[in-house]
């Protein structure tokens, strides 16, 4: 556990949504390691290596956090706020994925510097497309902020 590098941290308490998201991401080969936590407190413990995750290597931050808003214990907005206020995670890419249709949630999210805010489509197929688009955009197209000089794969042979 300590050394596995997580690609996506999925913070979600609905089992259906978890299953569908995992299935989509794996099928599209977008992420190798997806870690699921089911409430805000566990998300924070995971990211800040506290509580049950005290042994986790703090140098390994996930590449993307998919964050639901309505979560037990600590809700998504508060998780986002705490992440942005901590230097270890202030630049961590966070995408809110929520069923909430409240305009104020959208405004709040961007105000708290979420990278993007996505409303979960009700339709099964559209949900899949959305997860796929998120994975593609944030893992492949977007350039992530690198924290440390992690070991980069050697470039292809130049000759």
């Amino acid at each position: 556990m300590n050394d596995i590098e997580v690609d996506i941290l999925l913070v979600e308490d609905s089992q259906d949504d978890i299953d569908l998201a995992l299935h989509t991401l794996r099928r599209e080969n977008l992420a190798n390691h997806i870690f699921v936590v089911r409430d805000g407190e566990e998300a924070l413990d995971f990211l800040f290596c506290t509580g049950p995750y005290a042994d986790r290597n703090p140098a390994h931050m996930p590449k993307l956090v998919l964050l639901d808003l309505k979560l037990p214990k600590v809700d998504g907005m508060e998780v986002l706020e705490r992440l942005r206020n901590d230097p270890r995670s202030t630049n961590l890419p966070v995408v809110i994925m929520t069923s909430s249709k409240e305009e104020k949630d959208v405004a709040n999210g961007y105000h708290l510097r979420v990278n993007s805010f996505i409303q979960k489509p009700v339709d099964f197929e559209q949900f899949r497309q959305t997860v796929k688009a998120i994975g593609l955009y944030w893992l492949l197209i977007n350039q992530r902020p690198q924290n440390h000089a992690a070991k980069k794969p050697a470039d292809q042979v130049k000759s």
């Binding site: 405004a107 961007y110 996505i118």
Partner: protein, 142 residues
Amino acid sequence: MKESPDILLVDDNPADVGLTREVLAASTHHANIHNVPDGEEAIAFLHRRGKYTDAVRPDLVMLDLNMPRKGGRAVLAEVKTDPGLRTIPIVVFTTSHADKDIIHSYELGANCYISKPGNLGDFFSAVQSIEEFWFGFTSLPH
């Protein structure tokens, strides 16, 4: 999603602006593109000052970094600290691949960072992906 979203394209290279316009014109979202060539004009546009009194509030900003007079970093710094403007998503779209530019942009509050690809096909794909993601899937603040 409103009928025709508005993009503020901040870029001083007319060639790149031309390519970007082409891609966006072909999309289903019919975005309106407003192009300004440097950071000062961008800020004036966003604050609706001077010749931009009637400017719309853009739904998305695509921001180059290296521009004369005022560059992209200054725009990021100003916009993302302004409570009235900071919720507007800003996509940094620039030639630089440098790590320090990437990190710095995020620190200044960029929503994402995309390096302009060298070849034409990839450039088109990149602009398409930006447009598709931000107008096809994302909820934007009003």
